[in-house]
């Protein structure tokens, strides 16, 4: 039982060719006390040194809500010498009914040097279903990434999109930078649920988005979403940090982006010619305060969930969803050149 872990160690180190047999042994030992569950193969790849431990921590938390077979890889392609090490472990938690330990298993790999080219074969042979296919992409249904961290957005996006095109099946692109906006988008969208609010769409004048340092791309994606859904076209030039759009009637809409310390998106104010729609972080931090009103008018703010910016919450949110993310792709296309 040494490999059953709660403290985020990598578990039991095993030889590469003994992974399957060691996993079987692990589950045989725990039979009765634990139930193994797996709904998805979740492969995590990183080239950041020391990422194995950090990503193991994330997987341990994600597995509480999303039973999976996790394959966590840390690769150093630049190392000169070959090194391949593997570990197996299980992440267990008590089920909601409180009667059983539910466990997901994890296989961790540390790859260094030229052997990193073996990555596809290593991943294939440990997927929790019947393999094999020579192309890694053929086994991927969803690629999850966080574009907020990208230094060169166009180049990174080109890589992701070309991989997507190479695959024969549908691959859904899941950007955690987009997931990060879910609650804020919902909070703004609810202002317009009633058809009598729709006339404001044609009267939009300007908007202001406050974002935290490092989250400009998140704010631009939000602007892209508004533009895509409301049929605005992006002007290529920006003036004083503002993004400029033109609606279908030729009216200009300025979106001011302001860097402010705080949450990734601190506040959004969308102004039609009559009413201001505001979504802002509440003082308590994990709620959104939403209000609408004419300038100077007394408002009745309401609270809505704000979601969380931590990777586990974002991943959990993303794994709960399905679908092709067309809205994301439309938003992205609207502001691609501004990112």
């Amino acid at each position: 039982m040494a490999a059953i872990t709660e403290n985020y160690s990598l578990g039991l180190q095993v030889q590469l060719d003994k992974i399957d047999s060691e996993l079987k042994k692990l589950w045989a030992e725990s039979q009765g006390a634990m139930t193994r569950a797996s709904l998805v193969n979740l492969a995590v790849y990183s080239e950041v040194p020391g990422s194995l431990e950090k990503n193991t921590q994330l997987i341990a938390k994600i597995a509480e809500n999303h039973a999976c077979r996790a394959i966590v890889i840390e690769a150093d392609c630049k190392a000169k010498a070959n090194r391949v090490e593997a570990w197996i472990s299980a992440h267990c938690h008590v089920s909601r009914t409180g009667s059983q330990q539910i466990c997901s298993d994890q296989i961790s790999f540390l790859l260094e040097g030229p052997c990193t080219s073996l990555l596809p074969s290593i991943v294939f042979s440990h997927l929790d279903s019947e393999p094999m296919d020579p192309q890694l992409w053929a086994w991927v249904d969803r690629v999850i990434y966080d574009s907020q961290r990208w230094k060169d957005f166009p180049e990174q996006m080109r890589l992701v999109e070309s991989a997507r095109k190479e695959a024969k099946q549908r691959i859904v692109l899941c950007d955690l930078n987009w997931t990060r906006l879910d609650k804020t988008r919902s909070a703004l969208a609810q202002f317009f649920d009633h058809p009598t609010s729709h006339h404001h769409f044609a009267k939009m004048k300007n908007a202001r988005i406050d974002f935290a340092p490092g989250f400009r791309s998140t704010a631009v994606l939000f602007a892209g979403w508004l533009a895509a859904q409301l049929h605005w076209n992006a002007e290529k030039t920006t003036r004083n940090g503002a993004l400029q759009f033109v609606d279908s009637s030729g009216h200009k809409i300025d979106i001011e982006l302001r860097e402010r310390n705080g949450e990734p998106i601190g506040q959004i104010a969308l102004n039609s010619r009559e009413v201001e729609f505001v979504v802002a972080r509440a003082k308590c931090g994990d709620l959104l305060e939403v209000s609408r009103g004419k300038p100077g008018e007394k408002r009745t703010p309401q609270l809505m969930p704000a979601g969380s910016n931590d990777p586990v919450s974002l991943m959990s949110e993303e794994l709960m969803r399905g679908g092709p993310h067309y809205v994301y792709l439309h938003a992205l296309n609207c502001v691609r050149e501004l990112l």
């Binding site: 569950a37 039973a67 649920d193 058809p195 729709h198 859904q229 994301y328």
Partner: protein, 513 residues
């Protein structure tokens, strides 16, 4: 169930954010606002919706009841109840905002003036809070108050709305006590609200696993060819509880297990299991198919009731090792009460799909464990080869509560040189596979009513057809001569032996839970 409900013009900013109909701003008026249902279920459900961000900000909740109190007192009472009964812990800042949308309206149910002031108050709330003239009236009061409430709502013009707004009424069970009273109740409701404004709530349909029956059947092609008389031997539906009447003796003495559980919950579950695929997921398509099942239930002649229905009443016994008194010894129960606390039925659906497939149902109080499940028992494989001595069938079990999930029993070879075959179980648990907790049934149903989606609510014809079926049994039990007997069972047992005999005659046995 999806966006086919009467949704207004689509909001482009909602695209991709929600696959369900969006609830609309409205005022929710609860009649019987000081009662148990409001405190234990309705307000906690609305709070949870608010905390999850599913409630539109422009919602007002108006409690209508007789007792003297003001908004602040009412809010304080509801806060205490919500802290006790809510699925998730109450957060002060969310409650504070949520509580601002709660109001108390004091009036007798029969006082005309109270409804006139209610109308004025709702207009004011519309202006102040943006509830847009939409009204949802929730009848959490006793059924004998419905007529008075409806009459006065109509007189105050509250059943009608201006263009672009809506008024809906949610009616809690029981929807009558027999066919005649159900028809009368429906007539009364219809005199003020049209059928498409009327939402008859059956909280069993709000349960995630009940809704999953449709997904299991119609999203998995493997079951479709097997789901009929050619492959299914019989079906069992069990709703067992360890509890006794728990202070509801006054109600239970008049109702009994048949009216309390079978007429609504169990027949609704049967409909979901037995219905044909609907044309689409709209409310009426689904309900059209459900009502066909109730209509196809073979009606018993009075003389057939005794051979197809067993009624029982718990006597003293023990639950989990703790001695408990018998039903007749419960407070407020007549010492010679004939009320059934257990009922077992053998039914047939006379349609092409289910011809000659017995459906066994049982429901009871003070049974050894609390569990609701549906089991589909498939016919045995041909008795040749290694199947010669097989006693077991393939069984598909749908667990409604607790430990929601689905299990399939199949046969497998025992490892070894011989061909020994034993049953094994493939088991899916919601709690294991999905980390996210299911919302409470009332949350889902309130949201649906605000969205105008009536799929999970019973339609008038479903209710009346169900009563028509139940009435035959009730009449046979009430007959002075030749009435089927009432059988006693010790608390903590699985009901009277006669319930076992009901299945044994067909060569079947109740599934062990």
């Amino acid at each position: 169930m999806n966006r086919t409900a009467d949704q207004p013009e689509a909001n482009p900013l909602r695209e991709g954010l929600s696959t369900r109909a969006v609830p609309q701003p409205c005022s929710i008026v609860i009649f019987g606002a000081t009662g148990d249902l409001t405190h234990r279920k309705l307000i906690p459900a609305l709070y949870n919706l608010a905390a999850d961000g599913d409630l539109p900000p422009a919602v007002a909740i108006i409690g209508f009841a007789r007792r003297e109190k003001n908004d602040e007192q009412f809010r304080a009472e509801l806060e205490e109840a919500t802290r006790k009964f809510s699925r998730q812990a109450v957060r002060d800042e969310i409650w504070k905002t949520f509580a601002q949308s709660i109001f108390y309206h004091q009036s007798e149910f029969g006082d005309e003036a109270g409804y006139k002031t209610l109308a004025k108050r709702l207009d004011k709330i519309d202006k102040e809070r943006g509830t847009r003239g939409n009204r949802l009236f929730y009848f959490a009061a006793a059924p004998d108050q419905f007529e008075s409430i409806l009459k006065h709502l109509k007189a105050a013009g509250l059943n009608e709305t201006c263009k672009g707004s809506w008024a809906r009424v949610i009616v809690e069970k029981p929807f009558g006590t027999d066919l005649a009273s159900a028809r009368e109740l429906n007539r009364i409701v219809r005199s003020s609200f049209a059928e498409d404004q009327t939402y008859r709530i059956d909280h069993f349909l709000g349960k995630e696993t009940a809704q999953n029956i449709l997904v299991l059947r119609f999203a998995n092609a493997i079951f479709a060819p097997l789901w009929n008389t050619h492959y299914i031997d019989h079906v069992q539906i069990t709703a067992a509880e360890t509890l006794g009447v728990e202070g509801r003796a006054g109600f239970y003495e008049r109702a009994g297990a048949l009216r309390d559980m079978v007429q609504n919950h169990l027949l609704q579950l049967l409909c979901l299991v037995a219905m044909e695929p609907p044309m689409d997921l709209s409310a009426d398509s689904i309900r059209d198919e459900k009502v066909k099942i109730v209509r196809s239930l073979r009606r018993f002649a009075q003389s057939e009731v005794a051979t197809n229905v067993v009624r029982g009443q718990y006597a003293e016994g023990a639950i989990n090792g703790k001695p408990v008194i018998g039903y007749r010894q419960e407070p407020n129960v007549k010492p010679d009460s004939e009320t059934e606390t257990f009922v077992a039925l053998r039914l047939f659906i006379d349609d092409w799909r289910w011809a000659d497939v017995p459906i066994y149902m049982r429901v009871g109080k003070r049974l050894p464990k609390s569990a609701t499940e549906i089991s589909i028992h498939f016919k045995k494989a041909p008795a040749v080869l290694f199947n010669k001595d097989l006693r077991d069938q393939n069984v598909l079990v749908i667990r409604i509560q607790p430990d929601e999930g689905i299990a399939l029993r199949i046969h497998a070879k025992v490892p070894g040189a011989s061909f020994r075959v034993e049953p094994v179980k493939m088991d899916f648990h919601y709690g294991t596979s999905f980390g996210k907790a299911s919302p409470e049934a009332y949350e889902r149903l309130l949201l649906d009513a605000m969205s105008g989606d009536a799929t999970l609510f019973a339609r008038r014809d479903e209710v009346e057809e169900a009563w028509a079926f139940i009435d035959v049994i009730e009449h046979a039990w009430a007959a002075k001569k030749g009435a089927p007997g009432l059988f006693f069972y010790p608390a903590g047992s699985w009901g009277p032996e006669e319930a076992d005999d009901l299945l044994a005659r067909d060569g079947h046995a109740w599934r062990r839970l």
